[in-house]
């Protein structure tokens, strides 16, 4: 149990020494993606192979081992999950991908015992055809700058000492012993950090409110709800570097005078919950959480709360209600949580990524942070790059680089040589951007001007065969489902919008419906109580703006140009495949199918109701749509 700054420095020294003694560090990614691909088996295999060779091996940083040990660690996500399981070996940062259990023997024999690379598991550059040994040489990583993700993939998330060896908890100790709360707030103000949870509100400003509010009891809440479909960076940070999140909370707590914090994690993230709980217990046991930390006079306690599956609980007031054990319904603001939050006490809610940026800001200074990004949006931002892009994954980039750089340089362009059509950015609150926006600089203000927003940072790339009307319908379905129902514009408005969008995709809408849709969108935007309703129309409004011709095609020509909307496709029978069994004709409710037994049948397109029954029933896959 650490009782003073000296104790802490001692532990830092010991853990650094332990790190320095490591002859080799083998990191096996144990993020959700890699675990799904079998990385835990790879870990077990490494362990038994290394033991078989009688090499000195340790699985915790501080384990006492004679000689120079081989450290075997799990790590958090590297972001390149679709290449998983990933194995990284230090020194040198050698990067092996798609490592299966059966590959382990070769890695041990060649790399670990003889310092030779296992060529076939290295990354091959798709254009030059060259293999590269290290992560930094892979195009996916080359335009990235890691701040919040600094340690993700580099350290063992289940080992507090490993975090400390890599400089962990130095920021909070510096704040505790060398800074005043005012100075901490000032540093964060100087950094220009804007909240990464969606709104982009300056973090320092928010803290100022709470710091100046009187109250014996204050709270810090870490928002780990991440309900935004298509986003997973908060998950990766919580799983890959949980202590960093705790340290960020402590810094925030010290700054505003809070002595207790909550992490609200969504229920779908069991691994994040597990790692966080472990981190809290370990930090408390070591004396880095609890009463009078390192005898500094500052106390801080952290509770983990699991959400129960409601997107709206990411909204601040709803989140507070949910922690209090109630239905997670937003309430009007003011009062703002910074004045009256959890159990009516002043409360600051910050996003996971926002908090993860703080240790670096305190250690390296606000100016350093401002050196990245743009004037109005400093720093770096993580994005979940997904959809029809060649390389999906989690990336962290300096704000201000262009959409084109993300999609084509980092993401490697579209898969299967598809043509780029759009990128949906910011989830259900965000919007769809087009080819014309590819050179847009990614920051809060530029995106807002284009009608989209960074939101939590989901970035879904869509190719030519995506129907933008269907995408708008998809998001509307999501928010309609997730609306808490408290206010009418959101509850009823999104429902009507979904109905209209459905009618359009089924070819049942007229041109007047487009006007109604737009009118409704503006009404929902204006009249809703919380951000969910206020931003819900964004995907519709942006697609209406940038892809109007697609809506028109659905309405006027009853055609889906991308060939997605089933009801607008005609059903045909492949004359070569059809065996003439007659089953389709029998089930067709419209009597649209005719033909003689054992001869190819045909569908009368004019009579067909497009119900799809025939296609489902045909045993010979003879029926297709076009």
């Amino acid at each position: 149990m650490l009782k003073s700054m000296d104790d802490f420095l001692n532990l830092y020294k010991q853990s650094q020494e332990a790190l320095g003694r490591e002859k080799m560090r083998i990191l096996i990614c144990a993020g959700t993606g890699c675990v799904a691909n079998g990385s835990l088996d790879v870990y077990d295999e490494f362990l038994s192979r290394v033991k078989e060779q009688n090499l000195p091996v340790k699985v915790h940083l501080m384990e006492e081992v004679d000689d120079e040990p081989h450290a075997l660690n799990i790590s958090g996500c590297h972001g390149f999950c679709e290449m998983g399981p990933l194995v990284r070996i230090e020194p040198g940062g050698v990067f092996y991908h798609h490592v299966k259990k059966d590959d382990v023997k070769e890695i041990v024999d060649k790399h670990i015992l003889n310092n030779q690379l296992v060529e076939r598991l290295l990354y091959t550059h798709p254009v030059t055809g060259q293999t590269v040994a290290t992560q930094d040489e892979i195009p996916f990583y080359q335009k990235q700058t890691r701040v919040a993700l600094e340690h993700c993939g580099r350290i063992n998330p289940d080992d507090l000492n490993d975090y400390i060896a890599h400089g962990g908890y130095q920021a909070i100790t510096r704040a505790l012993f060398n800074m005043t709360p005012e100075k901490v707030v000032e540093e964060v103000l100087d950094s220009g950090l804007r909240g990464r949870g969606g709104g982009g509100f300056p973090t320092g400003k928010k803290w100022q409110f709470a710091a100046s509010t009187q109250g014996a009891k204050k709270y810090i809440i870490c928002n780990g709800d991440e309900g935004d479909p298509g986003a997973f960076m908060d998950r990766s940070v919580m799983e890959g570097d949980p202590h960093r999140v705790l340290e960020g909370m402590m810094i925030a707590g010290f700054a505003i005078g809070a002595d207790e914090g909550y992490v609200y994690v969504r229920a779908e993230y069991p691994l994040a919950v597990k790692r966080l709980k472990r981190a809290v217990a370990e930090a408390a046991r070591t004396g880095l959480l609890g009463d009078n930390i390192l005898n500094s006079g500052f106390s801080f306690k952290v509770n983990i709360k699991e959400g129960a599956g409601a997107f709206v609980c990411g909204e601040e007031t709803a989140l507070i209600a949910s922690i209090e054990g109630e239905r997670g319904m937003p309430r009007p603001r003011p009062p703002f949580p910074a004045n009256k939050g959890l159990w009516n006490c002043p409360t600051i809610i910050n996003n996971v990524e926002t908090l993860a940026n703080l240790p670096s800001i305190i250690l390296k200074g606000g100016k350093w942070f401002k050196g990245f990004g743009t004037e109005g949006s400093p720093g770096t931002k993580t994005f979940a790059l997904a959809g029809q892009v060649a390389h999906t994954g989690l990336v962290e980039i300096p704000m201000g680089i262009s959409l084109r750089e993300i999609v084509f340089d980092i993401g490697g362009g579209l898969r299967e040589n598809k043509k780029f059509k759009a990128v949906q950015i910011g989830g259900p609150s965000g919007g769809c951007l087009t080819e014309n926006h590819l050179d847009l600089s990614l920051d809060y203000d530029e995106l807002r001007k284009a009608g989209a927003m960074i939101g939590s940072g989901g970035l879904v790339v869509m190719g030519e065969d995506t129907c933008m009307v269907e995408v708008a319908k998809f998001f509307m379905g999501f928010v309609q489902n997730e609306s808490c129902g408290k206010c009418v514009p959101c509850r009823e408005g999104t429902k009507r919008m979904l109905e209209i969008l459905t009618a359009i995709t089924e070819g049942r809408a007229g041109e007047e419906d487009l006007l109604l849709l737009e009118e409704l969108a503006l009404a929902v935007q204006d009249g809703s109580l919380c951000g969910l309703g206020k931003t819900a129309p964004n995907p519709v409004l942006t697609t209406l703006k940038y892809f109007k011709d697609e809506y028109i095609a659905h309405i006027r020509d009853k055609k889906c140009p991308a060939g997605v909307c089933k009801a607008l496709l005609d059903y045909h029978i492949d004359q070569d495949k059809c065996k003439g069994c007659g089953l389709c004709a029998k089930v067709c409710p419209a009597e649209a199918i005719t033909g003689n037994k054992k001869e190819p049948h045909v569908i009368d397109v004019a009579k067909c109701l497009k119900c799809g029954t025939c296609m489902e029933k045909c045993k010979f896959d003879a029926i297709y749509t076009a």
Binding site: T32, G33, V35, A36, N37, G79, F80, C81, E82, E226, G227, D228, P229, G230, A231, F232, R235, A267, E268, Y269, P270, K305, E306, G307, A308, G309, A310, F311, S322, I323, E324, G325, E326, R327, G328, A384, A386, G387, Q388, T392, G393, L394, Q424, G427, G458, V460, M462, T466, V471, F474, F475, F478, C484
Partner: protein, 160 residues
């Protein structure tokens, strides 16, 4: 028998010292025990904690995680978040439901073996489309055929 059944329930409530603000956590633990929230259980919780049944029902019906009808032994979640959606989660869901003969809004098979639900984003979008079985078994880059194989594995397991 009845007594024993509620004893476990009472232990969960006691574990939270009857703290009303822990209602969600209590319901989560109870649901883990019963695999769903039977009506009598909700009533019991309300009485034991001294809060109106409407409060307990209100919370239990608000959150997607809670189910008032029994779920299957295997809960299969098909992700229909944006990333999975654009990479073909619908055909996967369709194939599963067809194989299990689930119609309309039905989620659970009659023999209470399988539940199929769609969820929005499991946070593994890099592997889209994603299917998760019983919380922890993640299958990435799924296809309709692939998901039927996963299903088959459990069906065989059950027969033996």
């Amino acid at each position: 028998m009845q007594q024993r059944k509620f004893q476990r329930l009472q232990n969960i409530i006691d574990g939270h010292e009857g703290n009303v603000s822990h209602l969600i956590a209590i319901l989560q633990e109870v649901q883990e025990e019963y695999r769903y929230l039977p009506e009598e259980v909700l009533t019991y919780i309300a009485t034991a904690m001294g809060i109106p049944p409407a409060t307990v029902y209100g919370v239990a019906t608000f959150y997607a995680q809670f189910s008032m009808i029994p779920k299957g032994k295997y809960v299969i979640k098909v992700c229909d978040g944006t990333a999975c959606h654009v990479r073909g989660s619908e055909p996967i869901n369709f194939a599963l439901r067809k194989e299990l003969k689930l119609t309309g809004g039905e989620q659970t098979t009659k023999d209470l073996q399988f539940t199929v639900e769609t969820v929005s984003c499991l946070g593994a979008c890099g592997l889209a489309p994603v299917v998760v079985v019983n919380e922890n078994e993640v299958h990435g880059q799924m296809t309709p055929a692939g998901v039927l194989e996963v299903l088959k594995k459990f069906q065989v397991q059950e027969e033996n």
